[in-house]
Symmetry: C2
Subunit: 408 residues, 2 copies
């Protein structure tokens, strides 16, 4: 362990150190899996208790008006909008990322009905690829898998839609979203970004980027709780034309008229579908309050400092390859380490209270949520990893491969 500046020194100067107490984390755990499921903000528990006891239990159906359930998807959407550079009125919260991506891809393709190509990334998160294939089949589009840096060279007048993730979920590589979006627009195509591994951990400015659609999940760096609802961004310039395939009465221009024919609401409300999972969404809303005390620039700076430190330490461990880019501009908030016995190493770390995850076949993936991790946490986690690798306890039969795994 030879990091140049002491962790205690860095923690003492950390402008985000105050945020640690906003989260409940077990004292015996160093949690490096906030990129899969964010830790629980303290405010989530009383918010849920109020939602269950007072709002559901006492106010019952009246809560749709009196407790603002009806306006919840837009309220939460706007709070997320702040984190992704979207002015109010362009983000709606609801459903899962898979569903929102399906919405976005179909609506995107319908903006350019004469084109026939849909590009995704062959290393994109599996669901993103499955949804692209399903949409391609439904709309008669040819789906091509292209690595993000190669996308500009593969665009042509047939390209309808490009669907990419901002950060590679496996390697943690951050793509050049500006360059790619510009190229896609120059080719007359429509750009859909998945921000699942970006929102809440790095600055992204969807409005300035002129992104056409974006989606993301609520349970990673937004800390909204397990399976927290996802969100979709539809910029003002596309709202009137956004022709969405998944429609329900909540997105109708006059929902309480209960009309037999669908007329979409004029603004972002058209991206509402059916009744949202209110309890889960109220947990997410409470979790998002944390961000009102935080500057995203501080989050990004700390994220880069944490991941930089991890890379520095990992470089000294034998037979461990740092897969995540070293250049700051190309790095999300995780560090992925390639190694033999990655699964067993991950299990050994978990047994020592350091929770990361394994990605087949050979990656140990460590995520860094700057709001609740300290530099000393990182040093301790890496000391454990170093010790495990040095002692080769990963060969111990007690760490034999078990069924299942963690959730992206």
């Amino acid at each position: 362990m030879t990091a140049s500046v002491s962790a205690a020194h860095l923690d003492a100067r950390d402008p985000l150190a105050f945020a640690r107490v906003l989260f409940d984390l077990p004292s015996d755990v160093i949690y490096l899996d906030g990129n899969s499921l964010g830790a629980r903000p303290v405010v989530a528990a009383p918010a849920l208790a109020d939602a269950v006891e007072r709002q559901w239990g006492h106010d019952l159906i009246r809560s749709w008006n009196e407790n603002g359930w009806w306006t919840l998807p837009g309220r939460v959407g706007d709070r997320i909008g702040v984190l992704v550079g979207a002015a109010e009125g362009q983000v709606i919260c609801g459903d899962s990322t898979s569903i929102q991506l399906f919405q976005a891809l179909v609506a995107a393709a319908r903006l350019v009905p004469d084109r026939t190509g849909l590009i995704t990334d062959g290393a994109n998160f599996p669901t993103d690829q499955y949804v692209a294939d399903s949409v391609g089949r439904l709309l008669g589009l040819e789906v091509t898998r292209v690595s993000p840096p190669d996308v500009p060279a593969r665009l042509d007048e047939r390209t309808a839609v490009v669907s990419l993730s901002v950060v590679d979920y496996r390697t943690g590589e951050l793509w050049d979203v500006e360059m790619i979006t510009r190229a896609v627009h120059a080719a007359g195509a429509v750009m859909v970004w998945d921000l699942s591994h970006a929102a809440g951990v790095l600055p992204i400015d969807l409005d300035n980027l002129s992104a056409d659609f974006a989606v993301g999940c609520g349970y990673k760096y937004l800390n909204g709780g397990p399976g927290a609802p996802a969100w979709i961004y539809v910029p003002f310039r596309h709202q009137a034309a956004a022709d969405l395939p998944l429609i329900g009465w909540h997105g109708h221009a006059a929902p309480f008229d209960l009309e037999p024919n669908y007329t979409p609401a004029p603004g972002i409300d058209r991206a509402r579908i059916g009744t949202p999972p209110v309890l889960s969404m109220l947990a997410l809303e409470a979790a998002l309050a944390v961000w009102q005390q935080v500057e995203l620039a501080d989050v990004r700076a700390k994220s880069l400092a944490l991941t930089g430190r991890v890379i520095e330490i990992a470089d000294e461990i034998d037979c461990v390859e740092v897969v995540t880019p070293r250049a700051q501009a190309r790095r999300g908030s995780q560090v992925s380490l390639r190694m033999t016995y990655a699964y067993e190493t991950c299990q050994a770390l978990i047994a020592r209270g350091v929770i990361g995850d394994f990605r087949a076949p050979d990656l140990l993936r460590l995520g860094f949520a700057p709001l609740y991790l300290s530099f000393q946490d990182v040093d301790e986690a890496m000391a454990q990893l170093t010790e495990i690798r040095d002692r080769e306890t990963y060969l111990d039969p007690r760490f034999a491969r078990a069924v299942g795994g963690a959730v992206t």
Copy 2:
């Protein structure tokens, strides 16, 4: 008020009277809106607190295995299956009813690719009609609106799919599901039933019915909480062929292999999509425990007794028309009353603690959840309604039309 048998007598003999204490309801409310949002089962609060504090807060990502989050959609699905006559392994819980209906309609149409017609009901719940139109457009099917009793006469060799609700959400009419399903099958078409207003309040036997697909919501008579996730039924005989449009990694045959191409899971798991709203689903799971103590036949018998009594009393109120069928075999668990000033009457009832809802333009809709309503509740509610109508306080300007309304 001249109901022939005293309410107190009926309550004393009610085999479901014990269930009232399983629900938390405000003491000053008679809740006749369980068909919009079911009351809160007592067990929901501790279940949610445990989900938030221990499972999310302490066990974190490990909960996917250790607390069974991964198997939750199937577990909850099987519990719902018991209530709708589906043997284990044919129901998955997740997403919203709108999403599940979209899934079902596309998969249904793909079973009969040479056919071109999709029938829905012009009085069907609006979302059901919007989804039918969207699916029709995506798959090139002609959508026709037909009233359920007229469906058999309108079937022909072009009919691919018939999509109907078991109970009319507005009038409370219960359709002849057996006759209609038989006719649809005789015509070689595929039958999709929406059980939103039926599950948990009347016996329905999807397996014996040979329904092809069914969907329903979790927050009405199942009491799963606001926006509780929905569910889909795909019978064993269709599972291998079910070709679903909304796909995600949770439904993959080998989800943790994170493969770039989709291979659906062999059984009902293929109906999983993305990460479900775990907190909302755990509330629903807890709520479903109530049913382990209840016989659905008792629920149906009490429902018919309650609604029969309401009709009997309503018949004596001037200028109130009972819209719900009087024949028991044609009645769900609600009574809809047509009247002038229905909205104002509904508001006046709410001001007196009797919560029903209004359906434009002229219906007062009263829902009866047999698990937490007594005959004395019903008599008291109807006494209030009678008094309001007799005194015409509904003309009082204090009850002038306000914005918004309740949620179906």
